[in-house]
């Protein structure tokens, strides 16, 4: 199996959306296009309210991803863990699909004998290390997030440290919502170096609304933009393979 490209949206928020499209529906739309949506809920001393919690879980499960709610101080480790976990989840899905095609509809990794399972997992580990990753980070910059933003910045730098230790290539892009005039604002276009976010991040001014749905919608479009540009240069057949199999 040749490594293709995994696509992920990483949403960092502290509560409910209150503007625009339904974010859970938008997550479903992302998944249909082979993009996994992961959500990290940041809370602080207090607990996130029930409704916000349900939305966070809903977005991730609809988006085929992983969700986790944490205190701001343990954000760094969670961000990288959630990302890696979602990658493994997607790759296992791909491998299971292959297994079904080879061994019949009932076979997944879980019901192979332990020895065989170990061998299959080595394939997943190998893919995890070498697969290319496109990750679009969506940061909620509504007013309540204001003093959590420095921690978010730290966590994202830490994420790039973890991911850049892999052999596979990484492409990062960063969007914040709400933006200056629009619902969503692009801070960083596709780049292998997430470190460049340090300067843009310090200039952020938090604003009122939380348009989570429109933000996801815009993020999906941005994946498309990249692909069409790249597609002009070289045909990416591998990507299609992953999209089908998720």
């Amino acid at each position: 199996m040749r490594p293709g490209t995994l696509k992920q949206i990483l949403l960092i928020t502290d509560g409910c959306s209150n503007h625009g499209e339904n974010p859970i529906a938008m997550a479903a739309l992302a998944k249909e296009q082979g993009i996994t949506v992961n959500v990290i809920g940041v809370m602080e001393n207090d607990v996130i309210d029930e409704y916000g919690m349900r939305e966070i879980e809903g977005i991730a499960s609809q988006g085929g991803g992983v969700s986790q709610v944490v205190y701001a101080q343990s954000l760094s480790q969670t961000v990288q863990m959630v990302t890696r976990k979602a990658m493994t989840q997607t790759l296992q899905g791909v491998v299971n699909q292959e297994l079904k095609q080879i061994l019949g509809s009932e076979v997944t990794m879980e019901n192979l004998p332990p020895d065989k399972r170990g061998e299959v997992l080595e394939v997943v580990d190998e893919l995890n290390e070498t697969v290319n990753l496109e990750i679009l980070i969506l940061v909620d910059t509504s007013l309540s997030m204001k003093h959590k933003l420095p921690t978010v910045k730290e966590a994202l730098l830490d994420l790039s440290l973890s991911l850049n230790a892999r052999t596979g290539n990484n492409q990062f892009s960063l969007f914040v919502f709400p933006g200056k005039r629009k619902d969503v604002e692009k801070l960083l276009d596709w780049t292998p170096k997430l470190e460049s976010l340090t300067t843009v991040f310090n200039k952020l001014t938090p604003r009122g609304m939380t348009p989570t749905g429109p933000a996801i919608k815009e993020a999906i479009k941005h994946f498309g933009k990249k692909r069409s540009l790249k597609g002009l240069l070289s045909g990416d057949h591998d990507e299609e393979f992953y999209e089908e199999s998720i």
């Binding site: 809920g41 986790q68 170990g118 997992l121 080595e122 230790a165």
Partner: protein, 325 residues
């Protein structure tokens, strides 16, 4: 600290006397008590035909498989006594649910930090020497331990011997580190990458020594080697090993053996040479002075040019004036 359980379901709670029987190999294990539980599963002390063993069970079959893969490669590599030996891998079916588990040797002992607190600081360098030896063997087999920390270290015996009990973070050399704990991770302190290489583990060893003298650990403030050096200087015990610690924390050791030799030197009352560092510093200073010198000569050059230009202009003006009048 992680509050949610959206995909990490609630913990196991298996009662004393429960029989766990494997679906594939049909072995039966009787649960005696819980030994510990973490994000990846729960470990129980079990009885197998009158012998004690440790059984790890998880909701995520792939966690079990991945750890088993590591333990297996340990047993293939002879002489590696770092981790517990693997006894069995299987699935346990109850009702419609299926859980994966593996059974390993039960390593009986005390965790590193309580052991040192009870038996004295003298033991710290000795246990570290033991650990470095095993770690060196592991590295030679092409693995890096990854999540090295006191919680994963047990002092067994007598005879006293340090052992690692959780091999979940072990990664082949050259890949990205799978699991880590911030305090022991060089990336967190801004002192290196998360690529698995021997120096990653050696950094963690340095932090384990620091942790032994700061049982509460401490948070990152400015980070970097400055903060860690301050912590070392503030502890009478750690100051003894300062040269080795600094070299380990700044990634100067390529092998566990090199660090082990330096630590032995200190214990035998010799000083550890810092040669590499002083040479580097000297060459750095050299570069700096040369840079300053070249900058100065550049300024001189500009002044020279301006002076010549002014002189020639003056001569020209004088010449023209002379022609007119």
């Amino acid at each position: 600290m992680i509050m949610m359980k959206s995909f990490t379901k609630s913990q196991f709670n298996i009662k004393y006397g429960t029989i766990i029987q494997g679906k594939w190999h049909q072995n039966s294990y009787k649960v005696i008590r819980e030994l510990g539980s973490g994000a990846n599963g729960t470990v129980y002390l079990v009885d197998f035909n009158g012998n004690k063993a440790a059984l790890k069970i998880s909701f995520e079959p792939m966690t079990v498989t991945s750890e088993v893969n590591v333990l297996k490669s340990f047993s293939k590599a002879q002489g590696v006594t770092l981790g517990p030996s693997l006894l069995d891998v299987d699935d346990w079916v109850i009702g419609t649910q299926q859980y994966s588990f593996y059974v390993m040797e039960y390593v009986e002992g005390v965790h590193l930090i309580p052991f040192i607190r009870k038996n004295g600081m003298t033991w710290l360098p000795i246990l570290i020497l033991q650990l470095l030896k095993d770690l060196g063997d592991l590295h030679k087999q092409g693995w890096v331990f990854g999540d090295l920390k006191p919680d994963n270290l047990i002092v067994a015996g007598p005879p006293i011997k340090i052992r690692c009990i959780d091999v979940g973070g072990t990664t082949p050399i050259g890949r990205a580190i799978k699991e880590y704990t911030e305090f022991f991770d060089r990336g967190y302190w801004g002192l290196g990458s998360r690529k698995s290489e021997p120096s990653y583990d050696l950094f963690a060893i340095g932090m384990i020594m620091i942790n032994s003298c700061y049982p509460q650990r401490f948070l990152k403030k400015e980070g970097g080697i400055q903060q860690l050096t301050q912590a070392i200087d503030a502890s009478q015990e750690l100051r003894k090993y300062k040269s080795v610690l600094i070299k380990a924390l700044t990634g100067k050791y390529q092998t566990a053996d090199a660090m082990r030799k330096d630590l032995l030197k200190i214990l035998n009352g010799q000083t550890v040479s810092d040669q590499k560092r002083t040479v580097r510093r000297r060459s750095y200073n050299y570069n700096q002075t040369r840079q300053r010198k070249s900058r100065r000569s550049w300024v001189m050059g500009v002044i020279e040019t301006i002076l010549i230009f002014i002189l020639i202009s003056l001569l020209y003006v004088y010449y023209i004036l002379g022609n007119i009048f």
